[in-house]
Amino acid sequence: MKPWIPVLGCVLLLVSRFAFAIDSEPPFTNPVLEHRYEHLLQEIRCLQCMDENIANSDAPLAADFRRQIHAMVGEGESDAQIKRYMVQRYGDFVLYKPPLQANTWLLWGGPFLLLLLAFTAVALVIRRRSRLADQEQSSR
């Protein structure tokens, strides 16, 4: 076997991810716009399929969302404006990453709260153990 064949295979495999793209919108010639557009697709949820963003969904609604966002990016709207447009029509759920606001603080803070709780528990246990060890030593 020629040594370059596996290398070529790897390269092809890497490149082939572009073949999985389902987006039918023409790419922007301006790479900044294209980057922003692709980033937005990652952040908007396909409401027809729930657990997919619109970059990865081939649902008809996702295609409509992509067309809408492509048009808005082309018209010079900012990321915040585009997200606001979607949220005003579909609610916060349309954002893949929930916004940090009054009704989501537990969602964002919850893990840290649990971590704090766990640390407190560990600290308590360690303190008690060391106290027990001290008592044992002093009773000896």
Binding site: L47, Q48, M50, P60, L61, D64, F65, R67, Q68, V87, Q88, R89, Y90, G91, F93, L114, L117, A121, L124, V125, R128
Partner: protein, 180 residues
């Protein structure tokens, strides 16, 4: 006492979590309430299904309580729903406007000719752009619009006799009373 708390607290936290997840199991994530409720219908202008030269816009939805039903011939649930809409239309309580969503004009016309047409007028949204502006994410969906053109209620999914009796008619009558 403190020692007992160390054991009880994690159990309480676990029970609380189980409670949340248990409830989450029975929530339907597709029933997100529309943020457009209480807001005026978005501006739009679409060709009419039966007459492409005529337009249908938001002004048509002002002046009296009306329903706007999003439907399409490719939508399976719309088949059953159409019978319900025909019954409701016969009662003559409220005009039902149609938003034909991402459809083929010829199939839509044929469907209405064959199965009956419950709609007072139908806007034809071939691209689905107007539907996005209305926050639509599938067919069928039904909006209740008051006399000032404000969206007051939205029902997602096919309308049944029960939905008409329980959800739509009481709201329609309440809006009428509010308006007079």
């Amino acid at each position: 006492m403190r020692r007992r708390l160390v054991f009880i607290l994690p159990v309480l936290v676990l029970i609380a979590l189980i409670g949340f997840f248990w409830r989450g199991l029975y929530l339907n994530p597709t029933l997100v309430t529309s943020p457009l409720i209480g807001k005026p219908v978005p501006d739009f202008s679409l060709p009419r299904l039966h007459d492409p030269k005529a337009t249908f816009d938001q002004n048509r939805l002002k002046g009296r309580v009306s329903l706007v039903n999003v439907w399409a011939t490719w939508c399976f649930a719309c088949r059953e729903e159409q019978q319900m809409l025909l019954n409701l239309a016969k009662q003559n309580v409220v005009p039902i406007y149609g938003l034909d969503y991402k459809d083929d004009r010829q199939s839509a016309l044929r469907w209405l000719a064959e199965r009956g047409n419950p709609y007072t007028a139908i806007a034809f949204d071939s691209t689905g752009n107007v539907a996005i502006n209305w926050g639509v994410y599938g067919a069928p969906e039904t909006f209740l619009i008051d006399q000032h053109g404000i969206i007051r209620y939205k029902y997602i999914g096919p309308i049944t006799t029960e939905v008409i009796q329980r959800e739509l008619l009481p709201r329609i009558h309440a809006l009428r009373r509010e308006g007079t």
